[in-house]
Point group: C2
Chain length 126, copies 2
DNA sequence: ATCTATACACACCTTGAGGTAACTGACGTG
DNA sequence: CACGTCAGTTACCTCAAGGTGTGTATAGAT
């Protein structure tokens, strides 16, 4: 009907779906958000502080995935103690902009969600 | 920096994040997509056929959540055997349009993801 | 009397996501 | 010599997501 995928191959569709799933998940989304807000490269420990509730393990793990997806860049400065900085790639920045649009739309329509308003009478469950 | 959430309260932000997380997950996204493509109300069993790989349990469960979020409408026709139809609400349709934009953007930039191109030399891991 | 179709609910079980805690390595400092 | 710092890694454990398989109500068809 809306046919919003007409020009996509199944392959593309599946891949995009996967990416959207991964990027829109809890930690990835928050990490990208934090990196964007910071506006500058952040060290591992700064991220730990700002991404509230994340465990060290999940942070490294998620950062690796984001790096593999080309959304962030990891830069290791071979000093002692080691310094590692993470920053958004242009792609990551752009993706976040796209997601932000969706995000904003949702916030604007928050009142409509959670709508038991839309319930038809016939919908009443037994 | 990009400050794309400046006008949101923490409350709104959290709620939107949650919604985005839920809607962009595997099954919800696929179900909404199928319902949109169909362009007409679909019965439970039709959904089972079209959402490949989903289990009956997950289908009912996800449908309930989508209903609670106001994205779909469930209509029970008290016949025998029972007939139940699911369709997108306007909100569901609109949300899907928003997501579709993101979706399309990703497909257009698929080549950029999975980019080990963006790797700096300094990034080389030990 | 039995069988079929529909849309589930429910009990059971497996798997994997993710948490916690301890360990590492290299070097500067007291 | 012991200690602290940073950015992890590794082993272990838990819990919840999700799969499977079965039960149920109802009425018409055979």
């Amino acid at each position: 009907m809306f046919d919003f995928c007409s020009s996509m191959t199944d392959e593309q569709d599946a891949r995009a779906r996967e990416l959207i799933e991964r990027a829109a998940a809890k930690w990835p989304l928050r990490i990208l958000h934090v990196l964007s807000d910071a506006g500058a490269p952040l060290r591992f420990s700064r991220l730990m502080e700002r991404v509230e509730g994340i465990s060290q393990k999940m942070l490294t793990q998620t950062l690796r995935t984001l790096e593999r997806d080309g959304l962030i860049i990891r830069t290791l400065y071979p000093e002692v103690p080691p310094r590692v900085e993470y920053e958004l790639t242009p792609l990551g920045r752009d993706l976040l902009m796209q997601v932000a649009a969706l995000w904003r739309w949702i916030v604007e329509h928050l009142d409509d969600f959670d709508a038991r308003k839309a319930v038809k009478l016939t919908t009443a469950r037994a």
